[in-house]
C-alpha cells in the first residue's frame, strides 16, 4: 500500500498506480480498474503486480522505475524527510513510554484479544480500530476492562476525541462543553463537525464501536463512557449517538440517564423517534438524525447557539426546492434512480433510514437495514442503491476508501454509464487520517462521469456532503468550492443531501413537511 501511494505521488502525470500481491481479489480489483485482464490473469499468487496508468510515456516509465527501485531497496520507501525509526514490538514501546495512558490498535482482529488483555492488566486504556474481532473476544475484553476501570473504545472504532485531541479519523474541532459517546464513527464526525460550525466545542468524543450496543455486549462501554463524562466537570451536555440499540439496552441507558445522571442529554438513535422527556424537565432530548442531534445540543447550550445551528445545519424547504428544481428539469424521464456511493458507514445507514421513508421503489444496499434489499453483488448497483464502500468486501487487501479513494473513483464512472441513473450521492470526509484531498482525488472522475452522460445526451446530477471543519488539513471551504466547480450540489448535512437526492430522483414529489419534521428539525421549533 505504501509503495503504491509513493508511486502515485511521484508525478502529476501518474493517474493510478497499484503495487500489490497478485491475489485473486487484487487481480479482480485491477481488472475493474481497467487494466487488461489477459495480462493481469497471467500473474500467479507469488507475483507482485506493478500496474500503472499515466498520461504520458515518461510518467509511466518513471513510475515503473521507482516502483522497482522501492521493491528492491525497501529503505527507499521512507526516503526524504519522513525518515523515522519504528519499533516493531509493543514491549519496547511500553519501555520507551512507561506512562502511556492510551494504546491505539489497528492490527488484524484475531490478534487483538491477547494484546488488549495484557494492556488491561497494566491499566492502559485502548482505542481499537481493528475489525473482525470475534464478538466473544470483545465481550471478554470489555468485561475484564470494566472490572479494572479501563476504557475500551472499539473494536471497529475509527474516531475519538480525548481531551480535545483527535484519535484515528478525526476532525479539528474547538474544545468545549460537549461530550459524546458514539457507536457510529462517521456519525461522531458529522456531529462534532456540525457543532464546530455552530461555534460549539467538544472536549470528549468516545467511539465505543458498532457492536457495543448490541445485546451480546450489553452496551458495556457506552455506559462506562457516560459515567466518565458525568464525572468530567467541563462537560455540560452529553450526547449518545448510535443506531438504535436493542430494547433492553435502550432501557438500561434511559434508566441510568434519567435516574442516576445529572447532566443534560441528547440521545440520537438514528431512525429512532423524536421526544423531549418532560419527566426530566427537558433535560433529555431524543432525536432521530445526526442533524437534529446538533440542534438539540445547541438548544441545551443556549439561544444564540441554537439560532446559529438553525442556519448552519438547515436549508429552508423553498430554497432546497429552488436549488434542486434546476437539477431535475435537466433529467430525462428514464433517469429515475439514485446511486449513493458512501465512504462512511453511518452516512450509509442514515441515508437508508431517510430514503426508505421517501422512495416508492425498492432500495438496495450492501449493508442493508430493515426494509432495504441486499444487493446481489456489491460490485453492481441496481435500481436505487446505497453502497457502503467501507464494507469488508471492498477493504480486503486495500485501505479504507476514506484513505484510498480509488474504488469510489472507479464506481463513479461505472454508475454514469447506466442511462437510468439520475443522481449520484456522495460523502467526502475530511480530517486527520483521511486522504490528503478526498475531493480533489475524485474531481476528474466526477467531471468525466458528467461528460460521459452528456455525450449520451443525458444530464447527471451530483449531490455531495462534505463532513469537515475549517480547521481540517484538507481545507473545508476549498473542498466545497472544488465540488461546486465540478457541477456538484453541496448540501450542509448528510441528511439534507439524502433528502436532496430523493427530491431530484422524484422530480420534487416528496412530502418535505413530514421529512423535515422527522429528521431535519427539532420538535417545538418548527
Amino acid at each position: 500500500m505504501k509503495i503504491s501511494d509513493k508511486v502515485r505521488r511521484i508525478s502529476s502525470g501518474i493517474i493510478e498506480a497499484s503495487v500489490i500481491m497478485a491475489t485473486s481479489t487484487n487481480k479482480g480489483i485491477l481488472i475493474r480498474l481497467g487494466f487488461p485482464p489477459s495480462v493481469i490473469q497471467e500473474a500467479t499468487e507469488s507475483d507482485i503486480i506493478i500496474a500503472v496508468r499515466a498520461q504520458d510515456q515518461e510518467s509511466l516509465d518513471l513510475a515503473i522505475h521507482k516502483a522497482n527501485e522501492m521493491l528492491e531497496s525497501p529503505e527507499k520507501i521512507s526516503a526524504g524527510n519522513e525518515e523515522k525509526s519504528r519499533l516493531t514490538d509493543l514491549d519496547s514501546a511500553l519501555n520507551m513510554m512507561p506512562d502511556a495512558n492510551l494504546v491505539l490498535l489497528s492490527i488484524p482482529g484475531e490478534h487483538v484479544k491477547d494484546i488488549s488483555l495484557k494492556l488491561i492488566e497494566r491499566g492502559i486504556h485502548q482505542q481499537i480500530f481493528s475489525d473482525h474481532v470475534p464478538i466473544e473476544d470483545e465481550l471478554e475484553i470489555k468485561q475484564r476492562a470494566v472490572k479494572n476501570g479501563v476504557l475500551i473504545l472499539g473494536p471497529g472504532s475509527g474516531t475519538s476525541i480525548i481531551n480535545g485531541k483527535g484519535i484515528g479519523f478525526s476532525n479539528v474541532v474547538k474544545e468545549g462543553p460537549v461530550g459524546v459517546v458514539a457507536a457510529a464513527g462517521t456519525g461522531l464526525q458529522e456531529v462534532i463537525t456540525l457543532l464546530d460550525h455552530c461555534g460549539i466545542g467538544v472536549k470528549q468524543g468516545l467511539g465505543v464501536g458498532g457492536s457495543d450496543p448490541k445485546e451480546k455486549i450489553g452496551g458495556l462501554m457506552m455506559l462506562e463512557g457516560i459515567k466518565l463524562l458525568e464525572k468530567d466537570p467541563d462537560i455540560e451536555v452529553i450526547g449518545i449517538v448510535s443506531k438504535p440499540p436493542s430494547a433492553s439496552i435502550q432501557e438500561k441507558i434511559f434508566n441510568f440517564i434519567s435516574q442516576d445522571a445529572k447532566k443534560k442529554y441528547v440521545v440520537a438513535f438514528i431512525g429512532g423517534r423524536q421526544l423531549q422527556d418532560d419527566r426530566t424537565g427537558g433535560r433529555i432530548i431524543q432525536v432521530g438524525s445526526l442533524a437534529s442531534a446538533v440542534l438539540a445540543f445547541a438548544k441545551h447550550i443556549g439561544k444564540e447557539q441554537f439560532m446559529k445551528a438553525r442556519v448552519k445545519t438547515r436549508i429552508s424547504q423553498n430554497d432546497l426546492l429552488n436549488m434542486l428544481e434546476k437539477e431535475w428539469t435537466k433529467l430525462r424521464d428514464s433517469q429515475k434512480y439514485i446511486r449513493a456511493l458512501y465512504t462512511g458507514g453511518t452516512f450509509t445507514y442514515e441515508a437508508q433510514v431517510i430514503l426508505s421513508g421517501i422512495l416508492p421503489g425498492p432500495i438496495y444496499s450492501n449493508a442493508p437495514i430493515l426494509n432495504i434489499k441486499e444487493m446481489a453483488s456489491s460490485l453492481a448497483s441496481e435500481a436505487n442503491s446505497i453502497v457502503d464502500l467501507g464494507e469488508e468486501e471492498f477493504t480486503q487487501g486495500r485501505p479504507h476508501p476514506m484513505i484510498d479513494p480509488t474504488i469510489r473513483k472507479l464506481r463513479i464512472l461505472e454508475e454514469a454509464k447506466d442511462p437510468e441513473v439520475g443522481v449520484l450521492l456522495m460523502d467526502f470526509v475530511l480530517g486527520y487520517g483521511s486522504h490528503p484531498d478526498p475531493v480533489g482525488a475524485a474531481l476528474r472522475e466526477i467531471k468525466e462521469a458528467r461528460d460521459e452522460a452528456a455525450r449520451d445526451g443525458r444530464y447527471l446530477s451530483v449531490i455531495s456532503h462534505v463532513c469537515g471543519t475549517t480547521g481540517d488539513p484538507q481545507g473545508y471551504d476549498s473542498s466545497i468550492s472544488k465540488l461546486q466547480s465540478a457541477g456538484s450540489i453541496v448540501l450542509p448535512t448528510n441528511a439534507i443531501a439524502a433528502v436532496g437526492a430523493a427530491l431530484v430522483g422524484l422530480r420534487g414529489k416528496v412530502d418535505l413537511e413530514k421529512i423535515y419534521s422527522q429528521y431535519l428539525t427539532l420538535g417545538g421549533e418548527l
Binding site: 509493543l90 495512558n101 488484524p108 491499566g123
Partner: protein
C-alpha cells in the same frame, strides 16, 4: 490488580500499534506518541511445530 491510568485531564501519551497514518495524525496535533510497526509472529508449519515440540 493495577489501578487504571488517568486519561481525562492529564497529558495524552499514546502508543500507536499498526497504521502509521494515525501516528502521523497524533504528531500533527503535538500529542506525545510512540509508533509500533506491528507484525504478527510468523506461523510455523505444523510439521516444524511438531518437531520443535519434541525438541523443546
Amino acid at each position: 490488580m493495577v489501578e487504571a491510568r488517568k486519561l481525562f485531564d492529564v497529558e495524552l501519551k499514546v502508543i500507536n500499534v499498526g497504521l502509521d497514518i494515525f501516528y502521523n495524525a497524533l504528531q500533527m496535533q503535538n500529542v506525545k506518541a510512540v509508533d509500533v510497526n506491528w507484525r504478527p509472529a510468523p506461523k510455523l508449519e505444523k510439521e516444524t511445530e511438531d518437531i520443535l515440540d519434541k525438541i523443546l
